[in-house]
């Protein structure tokens, strides 16, 4: 049961991720990323990180991606046209590098082969995360609020029309 769910979510995530890069229209890429986020939410639930799973939907799907969609629609972007290949030889170079990367990933992942995730763990409940955030990680937490303030001001300053 768990394995079946894992396979469904994992395959969805990977197929959708391929769509992010393969689609020509930015809006379709953004929607593919939305599917990836949804599948990752499923994986987080399987891992017992319930709080993060919900937060993932609230922040990523509910705020960040909507912002992306908003900008794509605001600028009324069109699908990008196929580009001319400047250095066709580089394309063939990609194959050995991809193989190298694949071997690297497989060998790294094999290090953890026999270690199953303990079933039914859920360390990530809201209460424990909140407790940690406001005790051990209080300073980083406060720093992120300053970071967000800076980002907010930066976005306002950047996007404001000049000459007023």
């Amino acid at each position: 049961m768990e394995r079946a769910l894992f396979l469904i979510f994992a395959l969805t995530a990977i197929v959708a991720a391929f769509n992010v890069v393969l689609r020509r229209h930015p809006l379709q890429s953004a929607l593919a990323l939305l599917v990836v986020l949804g599948a990752l939410t499923g994986l987080y639930i399987l891992l017992g990180a319930y709080f993060l799973a919900v937060i993932q939907v609230v922040i990523y799907a509910g705020a960040i991606l909507v912002l992306f969609l908003f900008v794509i629609m605001l600028l009324n972007l069109r699908a990008e046209e196929a580009r001319l290949e400047r250095r066709p030889l580089l394309r063939w170079l990609a194959i050995p590098f991809a193989a190298l990367l694949g071997v690297e990933i497989i060998s790294l992942v094999r290090l953890f082969e026999e270690n199953p995730i303990p079933s039914g763990t859920s360390v990530g409940v809201t209460e424990s995360i909140g407790r940690e955030l406001f005790t051990t990680y209080l300073l980083p937490f406060e720093l992120t609020s300053i970071l967000i303030l800076i980002a907010l001001l930066g976005a306002v300053v950047l996007a404001r029309r000049e000459g007023r």
Binding site: E2, I14, V21, A30, A49, R110, V123, T144, A151, A155
Partner: protein
């Protein structure tokens, strides 16, 4: 009840991260490049959550929380820059935005 090996999660995360990197390299549209960065961040998040569950240690999940905050800040500023770029050049192709002045 069968359990899932930790390597499966890591493999998924690795694949997602690779696709995200490829997106940033291959695409020339600034918005899609930002989407690729989000994909990479999410892949990293998945590894963090995986190890957090494996070691029964909250630190990983807290880290994911911070990554999300940074991603939100990055998206806000990044998209503001994108809007600005589009206003000046009528394009989002990063290859065409190479001059320091208009």
């Amino acid at each position: 009840m069968t359990t899932i090996p930790i390597s499966w999660y890591l493999a998924v995360a690795a694949v997602l991260f690779t696709i995200g990197t490829v997106t940033v390299f291959v695409k020339r549209n600034a918005i899609v490049m930002l989407l690729g960065i989000e994909l990479m961040l999410n892949a990293a998040n998945l590894t963090l959550v995986t190890f957090s569950s494996y070691f029964r240690e909250l630190a990983g999940q807290i880290m994911v929380f911070f990554v999300m905050v940074v991603a939100a800040a990055e998206a806000a500023v990044g998209l503001a820059i994108v809007v600005l770029l589009f206003r000046h050049r009528e394009t989002l192709n990063v290859d065409e935005a190479q001059l320091l002045k208009l």
